[in-house]
Structure formats: structure tokens, C-alpha cells
Amino acid sequence: MGVQMTSTRAGLEGIAAALRRRPLIWQLGLLALALLLPLPLGDYYRTVAWRTGLYAILGLSLTVIVGYAGLYQLGHAAFYAIGAYTSAILNLRLGIPLLLTLPASVCVSGLCGYVITRPILRLRGDYLMIVTIAFGEVVRLALVNNIFGLTGGANGLSGIARPSLGGFEIRAPIHHYYLMLFFLVLTLAGIHRLQHSRLGRAWMCVREDEEAAEAMGIDTTRVKLLAFVIGSAWAGLAGGLYAGKLTVVAPDIAKFMESVVLFCIVVLGGTGSLPGVFVGTLGMVTLPELFRPLRAWRDAWVGVAMVVMMIARPEGLWPSRKVQLEIRGEKEEASGRSAAAEAGS
């Protein structure tokens, strides 16, 4: 790797080390940046910032399922939609203020996550993925078909009240942005704490070697179920925030492409890595929003990006160290084995 250490490089590495020792410095710095960001922007870009944050929350909720528990979930948008519709229905039918519907969205999405995954957790990766795709479609079709007469069919539900805090109605994009930022910080803190806890370690062990984890006394079924329920419940929260901003919910938010984009955010950014989710969101959501031509080609962009990344850098753009070690290790083993096979033949 013979790179020469210039004094600038040494200086930068010194700063990096100092920052690693005192994470609060750069965390507060980022928070300040996030708070100041929308001020100079116009309404359109403030909405883009809001969408970025929303998809970051969704990406974080999915990274718990995919990155920590290692379960391939390609129907995550379904729980997002369930949360959005729950908020919408409670608000329209029962007049509950939007912010108070958020706990219900979390619970309903979490409950659906539990009901769906409890019977299928024993399935191997690919089969689990197929079931999640199927579930995503089932939810979308149920919404389109106006299930229980509640979901308003293909046009969805409209006229949802905006969230209000003690009389102050959150209407302008910048206020929605700050509301979303609050939940984003909450999500980050929660996930960080989970990652560095007994449960987080159990997730890592299950991902590394499920049989050994089970033999060591870790209830692997329960641990995987927890990941799924937590991830699904949190997607429901994001759905509630969405309903509050757009005041309209339609079955489109549960469509397969939505789940694919979320999956790409997690995988391309770096599975199981928190900064990776932001990188993925910037690439998958913000970029197409900022550049009009890209928006028309967004679907193709997703496909091309996936192919290129899987070949060049499968661990993602900003991977967590553990996942990077896993993926690089597998590649080395595979190439080692094939080299040995070639040598032997």
C-alpha cells in the first residue's frame, strides 16, 4: 500500500483521531448544520431536504432488519404505508390530531410486522425475501381494494389534517423539516443505543453464525423477530409523518419499487452502517430530486447503480467495518478456493 505520509495527511489523521475520541464535537456540528440547512433555501429545496430526512428514517428502520439481523426484507414499504394509512384513518374518521396518531402508527405497523414474520422466520434468506415481496404486494392490493371500506381505494385518502403542536399548525415546509429532524435525531440515538447493547451484540452473533449463536444461549428466533418488529414499527412512524405533510395517502406508497429503493439505500450506502444510510439516501433520493433529467431515469439509475456497486464495492459506499470484513473475507475465501482448485487440477 506504500503511500507516503505527507505532513498534511498526518495532520488530517490527527484531526480524525481527535474527533473519534470526542464524538460529541462532530455530532453537534452536524446537528448545527442540519438546523441551519433549510434557512437559505427556497420552499422546493426545503421539501427535498424533508424527503431526504424521511427516507433516511426509513433507511435506518430497514438497516435494523437487513443490516443487523441479516434478513432480506423487500417489502418494507408495506409497513411505511400501513403507518401512513393508520394515521390517515384515525385522523379522518376519529378526528385524532395527527401527532397523537403517531404512536398508533408505530404500534399497528409493529404488530403487522410481528404477525407476518412470526411464521416465516425459519425460512432461508431467498425464501424469506420472496415472502416479503409477496407481503408488500398484498398490502398494496388490499389498500387499492378499499379493504374494510377504510382505505379509499385507488385514490387513497385525502384531507388529512396537518400536525399541530399546541395550537401551532405545522404547514410550511420548513416546519415539517424541523419536525422530521426531531424524529431523525431520535431514530439515530435509538439505533445507536441498540447497536451497542446486549441485543445489538446478539444481532451481530446471529448474523455471523446462527447455529453457534443458538448454541450459546441466544434465542435466535426472538432476536430476529425483534429486529423485524422494531424496523417495521419505525417505518410506520415515517408513514405517519408522510401523511401529515402531504395530507394525502395513496396505495402507491406501498408499491414494490418503493421497497426496492429503500433496500438500495441500505445496501448501496453500506449495510448496517448509520452513515451509509445517509449516503444511500443522498444517492437514491436527493440526487434524482435535485437533477431533473435524473428523475425521469430514476428507475434505470437504481438498476445501474446496483449492478456497478455489487461488482465494484459490494459492501457499500460507507460500510460498517464488520460488514466490510465479512464481505471482503468471503471474496478472499472464494478466490482462494478457486485458485487452489485451479492449482490442483
Binding site: 441498540l194 455471523e208 453464525d209 453457534a212 450459546m216 470484513l325 473475507g329
Partner: protein
């Protein structure tokens, strides 16, 4: 002495293959017991039955007077979901069911006091030695989602205790210097030792070692014997599968011999060595390839 672990008529069929056929044995508390036999005799299968990886086709295994392995109930009974989740639930369910309920899963058996190592090293390769051993401590602690999210004081104290316990477990097997090394970067002998440390961190009453000396040289094997004796001195019963005859004869007080799924001998090392069936199983009855007839009296 009441047996710590007792297998009665233990049988396991995989389709048409009978891997374990009506095996009985006892492991008494405080003993070092060996399980030996030619390759394919069913030794690891017996271990898998003890640790709950699959249920037996027939027969039972009792551990501390509780049936931990038995054939699964009929498919109809299996449609009823498991009663109770989590450890408290297990005890409730076990108390309610006089007869066999759902087969116990491996983590439930670990919680009851049996820990094992594997024939091929099953460490968490991309985790450090400390993190590997912390996994062993998992079932002895309680902190859940809310404790983690809210960083309750009880959770923080428990986390500190987990790290302490893990470091103690590492130190006990002289692995403390490798605390922050990734498991996959450790030399093979240390990996094997780390697996034992991880199993010990689970505070078992019975430690099941599957070929712990595989791939170790003579010096390392000697160290292993000493370590197993030290583990037994701490009050842990040890059940060992091994192929290294010298090690088995030196270490074990009681030996169970299986061949083709059946128990063919049981007793002290001296008794087993002289047993004609055992010799026949390992060396064959007829003359071997060189045409020489095995001499029972002169074999080690």
C-alpha cells in the same frame, strides 16, 4: 451417585439411516467422560441430540432430572404454538407439561446448563475474542430493548458486568492478551481455546467438547488435558468426544464406546482398552491389509 446426564434408548434416524441406535449411558456429576468410536459412529449426532439441534426419533435424555430431549409430539400437537416466550415462559411451560411438550431448542438447553464446542471451530469470526466470549454471557443477563433504548442504570451496570465476566473468562484460559483480536486472526490452537472460553462463559454444569484436540500438536494436547482437569476442579462435568486415544486414556475416568450407532462398551479406560468389541471396531476382525492378524494383548 445420581447421574447428571442420562440417555435411555436414544435413537436417531435420518430417513433410512439409523445414526444412533438405542444408546444408553450415564454421565455422573464431577466426572470427565469420554465418548469414542470410529468415524461415523454417531458421536457428534449424540452431542447434537443432547444440545437440542434436533430431537431424537426415540428414547430420552434427562439432565438434572428433567427430560431435555424426547421425540417430538404428533404433528397435530405441534400446530399449537409454544406456550410462553422467554425464560420465565419456558419454566412455566415445563412445569405444566408432565409429559413431553415441544422439543427444547438449543438456547433453552444452554440456559439449563449445558454448553458445547463444535467439531469445526464455530467462532464469530469477524468479532473480537472479547465479543465472542460476551456472547456466552448473553443468556445469563436480561437487558432488553427498553433497557438499551433508555440506557437505564440497571442496563448500564449489567453491560459493565458482562464485560467483566467476559474478561474473567478470557483470563481463565490465558487469553487475556488477545482480547481485541478478531477471532479469525487467531492461530488455530488459540481459536479452539477461545471456543472453550466462550462455552465456559455460559456457566454450564456440563461442558460438551467435540474433538477439542483435533489439529493440536502433542504439547498443545498436553496443555489441553491440564486445562480440562482445571475446569473439572471448578465443579464442571466434562463430556468429551475425541479420537486421540492417548489423550482419552489419560484424561477420562469413564468412557463410552459407540460404533455404527450402537454402544459397544462402557467403563474405565483399562476395561475399554481390553474389550474385544472395541478392538475389533477400531482395527477390524479379519486380518488387516498387510495380512497380519491383530494381537489383542499387545495393542496399547
Amino acid at each position: 451417585m445420581e447421574a447428571l446426564l442420562a440417555a435411555r434408548d436414544l435413537t436417531k434416524r435420518f430417513g433410512g439411516l439409523v445414526a444412533v441406535d438405542g444408546v444408553d449411558f450415564d454421565v455422573r456429576a464431577g466426572e470427565i467422560v469420554g465418548l469414542i468410536g470410529p468415524n461415523g459412529a454417531g458421536k457428534t449426532t449424540i452431542f447434537n441430540l443432547i444440545t437440542g439441534i434436533y430431537p431424537p426419533s426415540a428414547g430420552t435424555i434427562r439432565f438434572r432430572d428433567e427430560a431435555i430431549a424426547h421425540p417430538p409430539p404428533s404433528w397435530l400437537a405441534r400446530l399449537v404454538p409454544e406456550r410462553g416466550r422467554g425464560r420465565r415462559g419456558d419454566q412455566v411451560a415445563a412445569a405444566r407439561h408432565a409429559g413431553p411438550g415441544h422439543p427444547l431448542r438449543p438456547h433453552q438447553i444452554t440456559a439449563r446448563g449445558i454448553a458445547r464446542t463444535f467439531q469445526t471451530v464455530h467462532l464469530f469470526r469477524n468479532l473480537t475474542a472479547l465479543e465472542n466470549v460476551m456472547a456466552g454471557v448473553h443468556h445469563r443477563t436480561r437487558a432488553g430493548v427498553w433497557g438499551a433504548l433508555l440506557k437505564l442504570r440497571a442496563q448500564r451496570r449489567e453491560e459493565a458486568w458482562i464485560v467483566d465476566e467476559a474478561e474473567r473468562a478470557l483470563a481463565r484460559l490465558d487469553l487475556a492478551p488477545f482480547r481485541d483480536e478478531l477471532a479469525k486472526n487467531l492461530p488455530y490452537g488459540l481459536q479452539r481455546r477461545l471456543e472453550v472460553a466462550r462455552a465456559l462463559a455460559a456457566k454450564p454444569a456440563l461442558l460438551a467438547l467435540d474433538e477439542p484436540a483435533a489439529g493440536l500438536n502433542e504439547q498443545e494436547t498436553g496443555e489441553l488435558i491440564e486445562r480440562v482437569r482445571a475446569i473439572r476442579a471448578d465443579g464442571i462435568t466434562v463430556f468429551v468426544i475425541e479420537h486421540d486415544m492417548a489423550m482419552v486414556m489419560a484424561l477420562c475416568e469413564h468412557i463410552v464406546v459407540v460404533d455404527h450407532g450402537r454402544k459397544i462398551a462402557e467403563g474405565t479406560p483399562a476395561e475399554v482398552q481390553k474389550n474385544a468389541d472395541v478392538i475389533a471396531a477400531y482395527l477390524g476382525e479379519e486380518d488387516d491389509e498387510d495380512g497380519a492378524v491383530p494381537d489383542a494383548q499387545n495393542e496399547p
